[in-house]
Symmetry: C2
Subunit: 207 residues, 2 copies
């Protein structure tokens, strides 16, 4: 191969991907503060110095992983909000979708749960920012539903935050429990969502 522009860039992207994947793999069982540049490059099949051709820092790499993690999460939430049906069906599908997502992308979910309150400020802030955009999206979706008629903007927002928070907790619980406890976690999550939905239905009755 020669004189075909783009070969170089493609190879570089491949190395970059290898670094990201290696890091993500290591982060499934360790903290970000616990993995090192050398460890990542070893796993990725690069020399230690090669790392610095792509990232200044491990935390810079981690921020990229945050964005990737939530890109797939955003796709998920869009699917949930777009669906229609009675609230029980919606709850069932939401919980099932979370379970699917955790099953398909366990490393990403684990990474987010771990570093959400982790020791690296930049990563923590990146995750917090993305979760807020997330809540914005949920709030918009909720606001468009007929069930939110008469609700203040602030109340819709706080409901959205409650849902997001519950979703994150449920995902973390799925991870911790493994395939064995999956149905138990799902049942609890569904019941809790039904309780919240009940509260939502009677919110204006007794404000």
């Amino acid at each position: 191969m020669s004189h075909t522009p783009g070969v170089r860039q493609a190879q570089k992207q491949q190395s970059r991907r290898a670094l990201l994947d290696a890091a993500l793999g290591l982060l499934e069982h360790q903290n970000l503060s616990g993995v090192g540049v050398r460890e990542v490059t070893r796993e990725a099949g690069l020399s230690p110095a090669g790392f610095y051709r792509h990232f200044r820092d491990l935390s810079e790499l981690a921020v990229v992983l945050v964005e990737e993690s939530l890109a797939s999460l955003h796709g998920m939430i869009r699917r949930v909000l777009a669906e229609s049906g009675d609230s029980d069906q919606l709850i069932d599908r939401s919980v099932e979708l979370i379970a699917d997502h955790v099953r398909e992308h366990p490393a990403y979910v684990r990474f987010l749960a771990r570093e959400r309150h982790g020791g690296v400020r930049a990563v923590r802030e990146a995750i917090a920012a993305e979760f807020e955009r997330f809540a914005d999206e949920v709030a918009a979706g909720l606001g468009a539903q007929p069930a939110s008629e008469g609700w203040s903007r602030a109340d819709v927002r706080m409901l959205a935050e409650l849902y997001v928070e519950h979703m994150v907790a449920t995902a973390a619980a799925f991870l911790e429990a493994g395939p064995a406890g999956e149905t138990r976690i799902a049942r609890t999550a569904r019941t809790q969502l039904r309780l919240i939905t009940t509260g939502r239905r009677h919110w204006l009755d007794e404000g």
Copy 2:
């Protein structure tokens, strides 16, 4: 001083405490995987080798910190459950108590939030076990309330888990926000609790 039994033990306990405090201090800004034995002993004023007279491991020390963290949390929850009043007053006091607790023991709370999904299995499991005992206690308290008449054991339990989960999330939010955003976090938390309480009140209507 000599021939007074217990001097040795007291001195040993003092060193042990110094190690625990040093570690807790370091863990406020770093992950458990990020702090080292040498770092802790340096901060505590001991030699590296001295560490092993007290703990086999840093994770062993961390498990002790977990127990300490939740001892004070248990005291808190007992106070909340013992109080009486209408539900809004109870909610206000609960949220205020969480805020106080975070203000008084930020290092412990941060440590728990950080290591709950952290990279060290033993610590994760210790935290999970304590949180479950916590949920047991809340469930017992809720079950004793008149509002839980007609509720199944499982439903009381899932409500308790929802409360605990919300409490943890609120505490973490207080930490992240600092004194500035405190009132905003508190307001959101109170509203969310009122929504859950509304759901609780109408739970049996439409089961």
